[in-house]
């Protein structure tokens, strides 16, 4: 059916994470499969778009033979996400991917869609509080299909210097691939900084570190900056920047090409202009790509959207997913070491003067034993295991309970965003508790769909 109007436009995914890598070859798509309920996730090649970066056209869509995170020169392949335009053609109508065909029906060309990328790296600014230390890239609105460099500019940079944050590209719609989409490719993960001192000039190590010398020490004070004990607004943890050693911890003035920002879309129709935006971030690769953290930004967003209560909508796939992520975390953690003198065991003593003691009985905290315990819970959800697990969960307002019993709650040995022992989101805790209650009443819970196109 021909369309006559667009009611609303959105960009999906609404929050995309790019991951740094210096290879010119973006990472192929892959998926997870779980052939063994307590085994590792398998990385499975998935259909990948291959782009001619000169024209912006998709040349083909196919599955690669294998999942390779590096190119032939050992460089890491960046994760370069696609962001799609979705449209709703009438009030309360469904959202569908916007295509060239839809634009044709409205007598519009692909160039009617305009994109704008604004990215920032405010790490130096966060510390120095000097707005001239903000590094910002802004493409302005544009509609061509070329690779658009995202150059971070800063008032305190040396003349003409910029930090590249990667590039954006409006993917040219074609008859085979008519959807309107944009691709963000992040930077290489390089380090930038100020000119070397006389000592540094002689050091080959120093020259190897910096991709470029960009920061003007006559204009800004990032080099030499120090987090002061008397300043209650330093970051937490404090002094987490490259420095020349302790006492005092002074910044070397290093910067990087991580960033976050906003991708905007505008579409001018005859009588109105439609707008949408999404958020994009460039962060480091996930170095154990066959697992996921126990508490994620996805969990935060879900709680912000849906609240802390389930209203009976607990499903098995959700529970399995949380327990699997807990297992994937402990598998790669030296639980014996973390039990005493480092990590939270150390933090309790140093922050609050707590008596220095192991968190768990050292005889039961070996990594293989802990992983095995998690596997048992995951394999036997309907047994009493989940009820046991649920009773052990730490509630968000119990993070300051540093008694023996309090410190042994789950997730154990890990730090939360408040610097104290980690609690899951309240919604995650609620999911596990509701499922445990249902099992105890010998009721089945709905299997639940595996989260669609995700996790």
């Amino acid at each position: 059916m021909a369309i006559h109007d667009i009611h609303e436009i959105r960009i999906l995914p609404a929050f995309a994470i790019a991951r740094l890598g210096s290879s010119p070859e973006p990472m192929d798509n892959y998926d997870w499969s779980v052939p063994d309920p307590v085994g590792y996730r398998r990385l499975v090649p998935a259909e990948t778009f291959y782009i001619d970066s000169n024209t912006g056209k998709i040349l083909s869509r196919k599955k690669p033979d294998e999942v390779r995170f590096r190119d032939s020169k050992n460089r890491i392949r960046p994760i370069s996400p696609f962001l799609e335009a979705w449209a709703c053609f009438k009030k309360n109508g469904p959202l569908v991917p916007l295509t060239q065909k839809h634009l044709n029906e409205l007598n519009l060309r692909a160039s009617a869609v305009k994109w704008r990328v604004q990215l920032g790296n405010n790490k130096a600014f966060r510390r120095t509080k000097d707005p001239r230390d903000k590094i910002l890239a802004d493409t302005g609105f544009y509609s061509d299909f070329t690779k658009r460099l995202l150059l971070g500019r800063c008032d305190n940079f040396l003349k003409g210097k910029k930090i590249p944050f990667g590039f954006g590209q409006y993917i040219k719609p074609t008859p085979n691939f008519p959807e309107i989409r944009f691709r963000f490719t992040p930077a290489g993960g390089f380090v930038y900084g100020p000119p070397p001192t006389k000592d540094q000039e002689k050091s080959s190590t120093f020259r190897a570190v910096l991709k470029d010398i960009v920061y003007d020490t006559h204009l800004g004070h990032w080099k030499g900056y120090q987090d002061l004990d008397t300043d209650p607004t330093t970051t937490a943890p404090a002094s987490i920047f490259a420095n020349a050693g302790s006492d005092p911890v002074r910044s070397l003035g290093y910067l990087d090409d991580e960033c976050d920002g906003i991708l905007e879309l505008e579409l001018q129709l005859k009588t109105k202009k439609l707008k949408a935006f999404a958020r994009i971030i460039a962060g480091p690769p996930t170095f154990a790509p066959d697992g996921a953290p126990v508490r994620t930004v996805g969990d935060e967003l879900e709680q912000a959207l849906l609240g802390t209560l389930l209203n009976g909508k607990v499903n098995r796939a959700d529970i399995e997913n949380i327990l699997r992520r807990a297992m994937e975390t402990v598998r790669l953690m030296n639980s014996s070491l973390m039990n005493h003198s480092v990590g939270m065991a150390w933090a309790d003593s140093s922050q609050y003067g707590r008596a220095s003691q192991p968190i768990m009985d050292p005889n039961v905290v070996d990594n293989l034993a802990i992983v095995s315990r998690h596997e048992q819970v995951l394999l036997a959800l309907e047994s009493g295991s989940l009820a046991w697990f649920s009773r052990l969960l730490r509630h968000y307002n119990e993070v300051g309970d540093l008694t023996d019993e309090g410190r042994r709650k789950m997730p154990a040995l890990m730090r939360g965003a408040d610097g104290s022992h980690l609690a899951l989101t309240r919604r995650m805790v609620q999911k596990i508790q509701e499922a445990a209650d249902l099992f105890q009443q010998h009721k089945h819970i709905v299997p639940g769909k595996k989260p669609k196109n995700n996790q």
Partner: protein, 295 residues
């Protein structure tokens, strides 16, 4: 890659979970750590700094660090007098919790207070977006002085409002007012590689591995390598070498800050199924750079 054909605009959960054609799992927020201290991909705590109209909060504690332009006189008081105020409750919900436990000088007990992480503490406030809630602020220097101010809660997600302020349409993108470009990553390490070497960052093990190549040792206990060990080719039981193994920070057998700054891609290995990624013949050996004495 299953192609999504349509999504109901009101099905926000489906939109939140949507990964996009051609995008691997690690492009989705469900693979990004959120126990941010300070975080890897972003410091998600920054999203809460502007959740109340008129004030700016510190990302990791309940301290008021600023007021927004145009804020009324009562709000201005929170920063104008040189006194520091902390948000202790919102809509009757505490923003802090007690710290208890055995003090190092037995039989004394710890009596302290911790400010709760915003995401969980504010979870019941978010549904009141667009409304005013009573916020109580405590004077840091005079704990008896409490300022009570009604503050409007911002919408967490991007919304369209009608004339009466009622939400008529919502999207799953975090509202612009909460964070500008660069704000979500601002409190991360600079450069980010620092975070792979800072001590005690093992609470992100699923994406920044710690204990790798783990297998049962001769005594039946787990043996494995520290992900930061340069050499993992030993025969017999594997040995996890920690940063403080030789009594000093900056153990030279571990990858150093300089190694990471100069050649992180060569020095950091992907861990698949708990083991080091196999290196292809064409791949160079892990590059060992000169250790810098100062760190």
């Amino acid at each position: 890659m299953k192609k999504a054909s349509s999504i109901e605009p009101k099905n926000l959960t489906a939109q939140l979970h949507y990964r996009g054609e051609g995008n691997p799992p690690s492009s989705h927020p469900s693979t990004a750590v959120s126990n941010c201290y300070p975080g890897l991909e972003m410091d998600f705590r920054n999203v809460w700094k502007h959740i109340f109209e008129g004030i700016v909060l510190l990302e990791y504690s309940n301290l008021v660090t600023g007021v927004e332009p145009g804020a009324d006189e009562k709000i201005q008081r929170l920063v104008s007098s040189g006194i520091q105020y902390e948000l202790i409750s919102a809509d009757g919900i505490p923003m802090t919790a007690p710290v208890t436990g055995p003090f190092r000088h037995s039989p004394e007990k710890i009596h302290d207070t911790i400010s709760l992480e915003w995401s969980n503490a504010l979870a019941e406030i978010l549904p009141k977006a667009g409304q005013f809630v009573l916020c109580k602020f405590q004077n840091n220097n005079n704990l008896r002085e409490i300022l009570s101010i009604d503050l409007k809660v911002r919408h967490f997600f991007d919304v369209d409002l009608n004339r009466n302020g009622k939400v008529v349409s919502q999207r799953v993108v975090i509202a612009r007012e909460l964070a500008g470009p660069g704000d979500l990553t601002q409190s991360l390490c600079s450069p980010w590689q620092n975070d792979y070497r800072e001590c005690d960052c093992f609470y992100w093990a699923a994406s920044r591995p710690d204990f790798v190549n783990v297998e049962p040792g001769k005594d039946g206990k787990s043996k494995g390598n520290n992900w930061m060990q340069k050499d993992r080719t030993e025969s017999g039981d594997k040995k996890y070498i920690s940063d403080a193994e030789d009594g000093i920070a900056g153990n030279p057998v571990l990858i150093s800050y300089q190694d990471l700054f100069a050649a992180w891609e060569e020095n950091l290995r992907f861990i698949i199924a708990g083991k080091d990624e196999p290196l292809k013949k064409s791949v160079k050996k892990v590059k060992v750079l000169k250790k810098k004495k100062s760190k």
